[in-house]
Subunit: 311 residues, 2 copies
């Protein structure tokens, strides 16, 4: 593949160039390194990677659609990376949600990419991070990383974001109580969506107890009715407010370093895993227990020179 | 730790011995290999590892409790490994469910172990597999592996089971339609729980379309009302029926081999990952892109002799 040409295409904002570049990296094809190294670093510096997570049914995708609407009215180019847990047991809702985003499907300044967590060769964390930078290099000022915050692998993805909004809605009952302890670990902003429904006020008060500082309570909790577009502009303002704050106090840069580490480890693990899987195809283990077999396997690997370009 | 003594304790069925043995392996402490190699292979051969999965709210934990009740009335010792996704966003419901199992908490022939997917050092897949064998060696004839079938990492765990039942309930709407394609990949039996609720009949008919063979439709779909104990004995009979079938036609043995491979790879990956993480603590990368950094990291690892006993 002609990488300089592909870089030119994507830096020019061509949707097809962006899509091909992401596939190149995702499929770990030759040229992936050259492509990634050639991305416009200034645009990557400027992008906001916004994590959007929450349980199924909270209205994340509708909210994403509305946030994109607000940004597009300000002529801001947006990328969306939708992480699909795609387990046979939860795959359903997401497909439907995705269709609702089709309102932006014809807009050349809305770049949408779905990524499945299932049956993957490469590391999802690494691929999603790279996709965000490719979108940034193509001119996106904001990249929304949408995940269903349910499984562990999905939660890890959120850690790639510069800033994360957790979307909740009334009707999750007592589960919300048990969630509270973990919320601050992942979320910078709490969105109480479906704020016109019964229980929304109570949920908002409940969430208030997460923050000890009354100022935080005010600034970090947003009420929205995404299905009617209510509260979305305020939410977007808050997001940009915290982005500026985090850029100034160094938190954003710190998170980018953490994200670099996560992605590196993810790629490295995948590379080694591919090699381990290869080695396992020739079974020659006398072990009755997997842990013993693993020890032998790993000993075999690190004593061996491997051409990792091939992976 | 005195491993022969610990083996004696757990083979004698002592709950404390079982718990200590599982912790030893989970925490990857010295002696883990010796312990695993010393487990009673005949009991491991005979155990049925039963996967139980499904979306939150389908009633898995109530069903588990009822299945345990049926088995205990037949004087069968049971192990339960409950995999807790423990993401901040979904942790709630599980805790509550777990408490409901306390009805069996005082029974010395019901061995219960919770495992969290979050913030782990060792591989969950490897630990869960080892725990199942430790429980088997302690005399459990059945080990139930309960997971919430929502995220990718949780789904992987199900692949450790000899036989898997997918628990569904009415009220999941259109999501069920989209799930159908993936069901046969994971489930040997479909349990339509809450069969007394509206929509149960429709769900059952819907699930029928998953199987092309009318005999399968009859044998592999079970209706239950776990909260009232209805349908549980029939379900347990079906489970044992398929266990026998799979033992005879070699499917069970084949799945054990697959599970051996999965666990080995999981342990090996974790061992290498720990080493990679260690190496990353001394940052000396000039790379701007994580994938490049990962290549350097992996090249450094495989050219180096590492004492893996230490991990």
């Amino acid at each position: 593949m002609n990488i300089p040409h592909l870089l030119q295409q994507l830096h020019g904002g061509e949707a097809r160039g962006v899509a091909r570049a992401i596939s190149l990296v995702e499929d770990q094809l030759p040229g992936a390194e050259q492509l990634l190294a050639g991305l416009d670093r200034q645009r990557i510096e400027k992008v906001l990677i916004l994590g959007l997570t929450g349980p199924p049914g909270a209205g994340k995708s509708t909210l994403t659609g509305e946030l994109v609407g607000v940004l597009r009215r300000q002529d801001i180019r947006v990328g969306i990376i939708a992480i699909d847990p795609s387990s046979p047991i939860s795959g359903g809702a997401l497909l439907g949600d995705r269709i609702r985003m089709m309102q932006h499907a014809l807009d050349p300044d809305v770049v949408i990419r779905s990524m499945a967590t299932r049956g993957r060769l490469g590391g999802l964390c690494g691929s999603a991070g790279a996709a965000a930078r490719i979108m940034a290099a193509s001119g996106c000022r904001v990249v929304i990383l949408e995940t269903v915050g349910i499984g562990q692998s999905e939660m890890d993805i959120v850690r790639l974001a510069d800033l994360t909004a957790l979307v909740l809605a009334p009707g999750f009952g007592d589960d919300i109580q048990a969630m509270k302890a973990g919320i601050l670990e992942v979320a910078d902003l709490l969105v109480v969506n479906k704020a016109d429904q019964a229980g929304a006020r109570r949920l908002q008060l409940d969430m208030g107890t997460v923050f000890s500082d009354p100022g935080d309570r005010e600034d970090r909790i947003c009420a929205t009715v995404a299905s009617e577009g209510a509260g979305i502009e305020t939410l977007m303002e808050r997001i940009f407010f915290f982005e500026q704050l985090y850029r100034q106090d160094g938190r954003l840069q710190e998170r980018r370093r953490r994200s670099f580490t996560l992605e590196t480890l993810d790629w490295a693990t995948e590379m080694v895993k591919a090699r381990l899987q290869e080695k396992m195809k020739t079974p020659r283990f006398e072990c009755v227990e997997p842990r013993q077999a693993a020890l032998e396997l790993v000993r075999g690997l690190v004593n061996e020179k491997v051409n990792y370009k091939k992976i």
